[in-house]
Symmetry: C2
Subunit: 157 residues, 2 copies
């Protein structure tokens, strides 16, 4: 029995469980500085730019999706960027990711967004199968570019 | 003489010039529904999620950068997503993109962001050269995934 609901005050500690799982699979190491209080602050401030959904299997926390408001220049309107979908290891292959994505779509429609987008690594064939089954369009050949920390400070000089 | 400044009320019409140029190079066609009033509304509302920079060459509008607030789960803090950097055709190869990116970096630092990220197509070797020169890290092998319009409504059912 899978249930998905929007984040509530106090969920920061649960979101840290999926964030840590994500961090260990991505090898973030010391760059993983998020705290439960960060999520509490940013989810429940006056004009939040992020939202989160939590999934439970038979009442046990099993996974989460974190999204943020984004913007389509072509349409002059907001859309949704899906930052992470994480399922805890012991709850894989039960349909949790699909249940989260379905609720992501509902949340997007409820906000009046006409589009959700996200990134995936080209080698991730399991994710690709799921996303295509759910109707997503997938465009290969993108690069993720970033300027951070010292390189960002240097350019800003 | 290149000058870059933050968007001001009334700049929507200039931003439409770069948005149209972007739309024609991306083949957006009918999907390109943005209006100057959309940018005016979204740049100057109470808690905007977007920002824009405008570049001028000897006083003539030459290009723009549009960014929005984004979020790093790993850090539990906001960062900047750079949505578009556009230089009008007649002002290319003058250093306008570099001047815009430098101001993007300054803007990010002023907001307290430690990272800016954006997407690039793998085949875009001119952009890659510029980004690497400016200190960016570039990761190949990403896919851009999206659910939009009818496919989004179908999944939300």
């Amino acid at each position: 029995m899978i249930e998905v609901r929007a984040a509530q005050a106090g969920d920061g500690a649960l979101l840290m469980l999926t964030t840590k799982e994500l961090g260990s699979s991505h090898g973030w190491g010391a760059d993983m500085t998020a705290q439960a209080s960060d999520f509490e602050r940013d989810l429940f401030c006056d004009a939040p730019i992020i939202g989160a959904l939590l999934a439970f299997v038979d009442g046990a926390f099993a996974g989460s999706a974190l999204w943020h408001r984004s913007y389509a220049t072509s349409r002059g309107q907001e859309l949704m960027y899906l930052e992470d979908v994480v399922v805890l290891k012991e709850f894989r292959r039960l349909g949790v990711a699909e249940a989260l994505l379905k609720q992501v779509a509902k949340t997007a429609v409820n906000h009046g967004y006409r589009k959700v987008f996200w990134l995936m690594m080209e080698w991730n064939s399991n994710a690709r199968r799921l996303y295509e089954k759910l109707g997503a369009e997938i465009e290969n050949g993108n690069c993720y570019c970033s300027l951070h920390d010292q390189a960002l400070l240097d350019l800003a000089k």
